[in-house]
């Protein structure tokens, strides 16, 4: 019997508060439902403006929903009431945002340690883990650099391992590699898969790049244009471990790509 999904979204809807109070604003997301299993790498694709970030914001509970339900580990999260939001759901949902959001006044090491400091979990063990992660993404030697001294790609990596360091069961990622050049992006995708395979966390990864979604995900959901709902769901047959840089040459790539492409319009 399959275990209940770790994260479940039922009938999620969102529209923003109207400014002048006359016309109700259009629905950004309407009646969105999907589920994520534990240990799954789920990728979500949608055209720009389809509310991908809004969706993640609601899952991370930094934004309210106008309707519907989010259930985490079978508990319903109170997401319609702004005063009862619990961002990150007590550190059980990690969120790697599009901008790196590193604290400019902290060095790389201090930035990566930041969640541990705030959660009061700083000890030898967590420090060792931090160092391991820093080495794993190739930031060794840059621990004492400030963010403005790092390249865009390096800041991204720091931002990534900053979430990985405190090991939340679910990690949301909002186009984390979007602003990088192709080479760095491929490198980071490989790093991410490698790190993921060590711990098999549950990841919800949003992107607009179909190839990336196929390279990384176990399953890909396609969002429609607003009002966004699930336009399609595709299980990824390509076996792991995957060759990220050569994914396009894989025999099963083309069919999957075409199927998804059609739905993205």
């Amino acid at each position: 019997m399959a275990a209940p999904p770790l994260l479940e979204v039922r009938g999620l809807s969102k529209r923003f508060a109207t400014r002048t109070g006359r016309e109700p604003s259009p629905w950004v997301i309407q009646d969105l439902s999907f589920a994520v299993r534990e240990g799954e790498f789920l990728t979500i694709i949608g055209p720009s403006g389809s509310g991908k970030t809004t969706l993640l914001n609601m899952l991370a509970q930094i934004d309210t929903a106008s309707g519907g339900e989010v259930r985490f580990q079978a508990e319903t999260a109170p997401i319609s009431d702004p005063t009862r939001l619990s961002p990150g759901l007590s550190c059980r949902i990690g969120y790697v945002t599009q901008e790196d959001n590193l604290l400019p006044w902290r060095t790389t090491l201090q930035n990566v340690l930041f969640p541990l400091v705030v959660q009061r979990r700083l000890n030898d063990q967590t420090r060792a883990r931090t160092e391991m992660l820093i080495r794993a993404v190739g930031l060794a030697g840059f621990e004492s650099h400030y963010p403005h001294e790092l390249s865009g790609g390096m800041r991204k990596r720091a931002s990534l391992i900053r979430t990985l360091v405190y090991d939340p069961p679910v990690i949301l990622m909002d186009e984390p590699f979007g602003a990088l050049d192709a080479q760095t992006r491929t490198q980071l995708q490989e790093d991410l898969l490698r790190l993921w395979s060590l711990g098999r966390k549950t990841i919800v990864f949003v992107t607009h790049d179909i190839a990336e979604a196929i390279a990384l995900g176990d399953r890909t959901l396609v969002l429609s244009k607003p009002p966004a709902r699930i336009a399609g769901e595709h299980t990824n047959p390509i076996a792991r471990p995957r060759d990220v840089s050569g994914i396009m040459t894989h025999p099963q790539f083309a069919a999957l790509y075409r199927a998804i492409r059609v739905e993205v319009q």
Binding site: A60, I62, P87, G88, S90, C91, I93, G94, Y95, T97, E99, N101, L103, P104, W105, R106, T107, F114, P115, V117, V118, Q119, Y146, P147, H148, T163, Y166
Partner: protein, 276 residues
């Protein structure tokens, strides 16, 4: 609120446009020599009443330093400036933090703060002398109130410049309100506060000197006034030189501390910051 807009952005420290060439440096030395020569010539031709002479000022300055007189008065003025600076700046920086969760109070206070900022605080000098006497307290009070309003608006701007995204990020990672205040609000506001400190510093020394000019029995302002009353222009010049040195010292100190604390700031683009 346009009146305090000038302290809105944390202006970078002054950057010289480009390192002057050797030729320019030579020109600068030349200008200095020419000015000194004119000064000396003037004093030889017209006597030392008007401006003393470079030599006279230099010798008087040296004797004054050696016998400790200048340092005594300078330290008095410096003490007034520093004490007033701290007494004014610390509450001014702390207040916006304390009121961060009470925007209504900040809004209520705003016109009073703007009024206090715009009002001529130095015009209060006689009032403070009336209240606190001609001793050190009146000078400290004057400096403190001048510095307070400047730093308040800088700190306020720093708090308002808070990046909500960083706060959200920290909250997702489990930060409490205190964590956010300590790790995000405060470090983010520090550059702005330092801009305010940098602006306020010359006012602190100026305020101390003005109060001393009006009524005092110690300090560099007192020395200036004393020299003037005795028609001792050389003495006035010596005291002026000492005062200017203290201003430079103050500027250098604030800049040095700022450089140390703000190592993390990205270097500014070519901008010319203009100070008073």
């Amino acid at each position: 609120m346009a009146t305090w807009r000038q302290t809105d952005s944390p202006a970078p420290m002054r950057q010289s446009p480009a390192a002057p060439s050797l030729r320019a440096r030579g020109d600068q030395v030349l200008v200095l020599l020419v000015l000194l020569a004119i000064w000396q010539g003037f004093s030889l031709a017209f006597g030392t009443y008007w401006a003393g002479s470079p030599w006279g000022v230099a010798t008087r300055l040296t004797t004054g330093l050696l016998n400790g007189e200048i340092l005594r008065h300078a330290s008095y003025t410096l003490l007034e400036a520093v004490a007033g600076f701290l007494i004014g700046a610390l509450p001014a920086a702390a207040l916006p933090f304390a009121l961060r969760r009470l925007p209504i109070v900040t809004a209520i206070l705003d016109p009073f703060m703007v009024g206090g900022y715009g009002a001529p605080k130095l015009a209060l000098a006689p009032l403070f002398i009336l209240w606190f006497g001609i001793g050190i307290e009146s000078k400290i009070a004057l400096v403190a109130i001048t510095v307070f309003f400047i730093v308040y608006f800088s700190a306020l701007a720093g708090i308002r410049a808070l990046d909500a995204k960083l706060v959200q990020m920290a909250q997702v990672m489990g930060a409490s309100e205190r964590d956010v205040a300590r790790h995000i609000v405060f470090p983010g506001a520090v550059p702005y506060i330092f801009t305010g400190l940098r602006i306020a510093m010359p006012y602190s020394i100026g305020g101390a000197v003005i109060a001393e000019l009006i009524s005092a029995n110690r300090g560099l302002g007192y020395l200036i006034q004393l020299g003037a009353m005795n028609f001792d222009t050389t003495g006035v010049f010596v005291a002026l030189v000492a005062t200017t040195c203290i201003v430079f010292l103050g500027n250098w100190s604030v800049n040095a501390v700022e450089r140390r604390l703000l190592r993390w700031r990205p270097p500014p683009d070519l901008e010319t910051q203009v100070g008073s």
